[in-house]
């Protein structure tokens, strides 16, 4: 065998493994080149990683950036109050306008519905009432729609705040605690302003009014919804006086709550 062949054989024996590795590496480089060259293939591999990172970043925003953003917004608003008011004013104005329009539409629909029932007895009665009193029929309908409704009545012992009797159209959280708390509020107001013998007579919240009528050892607290004008107040006071005279003059009786329900479970107060 010639010397050159021997040398080649020896090379092949010694460098066989290295050659295989180089071939493998070359194949891998070619694959990578083709991936890098083809955008779609590259995207399919990188996109899931970016998506995962983005999702984590979005999740972390409230915690990491939230306080900074809130603080910046606070500062911005504090420094440019007029600009904020100017920006919000038209939006709030539009919202209020829309709400009022909607409420008027509902009211108008109700009035129309009432007028369309032209053959009902109630309608004829109203027409008659309108002619006699001189009040427009529409105004009478509005009065009917805005009618005051009694939701609850409490008779409460003045000193202790303990509930004597209760009439309720709906389930309340705890009548006893409400009675005690009303008494505490009443006592607080009466004591805080030290106006002699004056007492708390009305609490207003939203469309509700709590009318308070005092007697010697107890008081009435009436929760009413709707228009609570002086005419209605006068009528209610009269009815409460009547009830007190009939059922409480000789001290509260055991069936006082039933009597209270009978007396006031009537929408035409």
């Amino acid at each position: 065998m010639p010397e050159s062949n021997k040398l080649r054989q020896l090379k092949e024996l010694l460098l066989h493994e290295d050659r295989d590795e180089i071939a493998l590496l070359q194949a891998k480089i070619k694959t990578l080149e083709s991936i890098l060259e083809k955008q779609e293939q590259l995207a399919s591999r990188i996109d899931p990683i970016i998506d995962k990172k983005l999702a984590q970043y979005t999740k972390d925003i409230p915690e990491k950036l939230g306080p900074t953003i809130t603080e910046s917004l606070k500062n911005e608003i504090a420094n440019s109050k007029d600009a904020v008011v100017d920006a919000l004013f038209p939006i709030i104005g539009k919202m209020i306008k829309k709400y009022i329009q909607q409420e008027f539409k509902i009211l108008s629909d109700k009035i129309n519905a009432q007028l369309q029932k032209s053959f009902s007895l109630k309608n004829w009665t109203r027409k008659f009432k309108s002619k006699v009193s001189g009040i427009d029929e529409e105004n009478l309908i509005i009065q009917e729609l805005a009618k005051t409704e009694i939701h609850e009545i409490f008779i409460i012992e003045k000193n202790s705040g303990i509930l004597i009797a209760n009439f309720s159209k709906a389930k309340t959280i705890d009548k006893d605690v409400i009675s005690a708390m009303l008494t505490a509020i009443k006592s607080f107001v009466e004591d805080a302003f030290k106006t002699g013998n004056d007492s708390l007579e009305l609490i207003e919240y939203g469309l509700y009014n709590i009318h308070i009528q005092n007697f010697n050892s107890y008081y009435f607290a009436v929760v009413a919804h709707g228009v609570f004008d002086s005419a209605y107040k006068g009528k209610l006071e009269y009815e409460l006086l009547n009830f007190a005279e009939k059922h409480l003059a000789k001290g509260p009786k055991k069936n006082i709550s039933i009597k209270l329900a009978e007396f006031f479970n009537n929408d035409d107060l």
Binding site: E157, K158, N159, S160, G161, I162, L163, D174, D176, V177, A180, M181, T183, A184, K186, S187, F188, E190, D191
Partner: protein
């Protein structure tokens, strides 16, 4: 048939009035101190042996060292006063006798119980330094461990319905 009784808790700030009520009504205790402003009212129904239930309407008044400063209307019509002090803070029972006397003078017909709360904070109840005060006290209690809380309200309920 349920009758209602008004119970009023009074005493200095931070003696554990609210904690006693919470332990009794909801069986909860928290060591976080939240000062009571004005009045807080809770209710607990207590069964009585004759078949009738008694509703205890419990008024938790804000703490004060001078009971003359309490809104009089809060005290009117009360069936039982519970005067609470903190056994680990002598200042809270420094005017115990004076306040108890005032309550007895103004409301002679109303039941009154004195309670030494936070008994879990002292090592020895028989220590001489507590002897005099504890002799004038109806109950020792711990809102934290619940010691004597139920007994206190049980005995009051019984005394009120008899």
């Amino acid at each position: 048939m349920t009758t209602s009784k008004k119970i009023v808790l009074l005493g200095h700030f931070g003696v554990g009035k609210t904690s006693i009520i919470r332990k009794f009504v909801t069986n909860e205790f928290s060591s976080d101190y939240k000062v009571t402003i004005g009045v807080h009212i809770l209710k607990k129904e207590m069964p009585v042996t004759n078949g009738e239930d008694v509703s205890l309407i419990i008024w938790d008044l804000e703490g004060t060292d001078n009971i003359d400063l309490i809104n009089k209307a809060y005290l009117l019509g009360t069936h039982c006063f519970i005067y609470v002090y903190d056994i680990s803070r002598p200042l809270t029972f420094s005017n115990l006798e004076e306040n108890v006397l005032k309550l007895k003078e103004k409301f002679p017909k109303t039941l009154l119980k004195t309670v030494a709360n936070k008994i879990d904070l002292i090592d020895d109840v028989n220590d001489e330094k507590y002897k005099d005060t504890l002799q004038k006290t109806d109950y020792t209690s711990s809102a934290k461990t619940g010691e004597n809380i139920a007994d206190l309200f049980d005995s009051i309920t019984k005394a009120l319905v008899i």
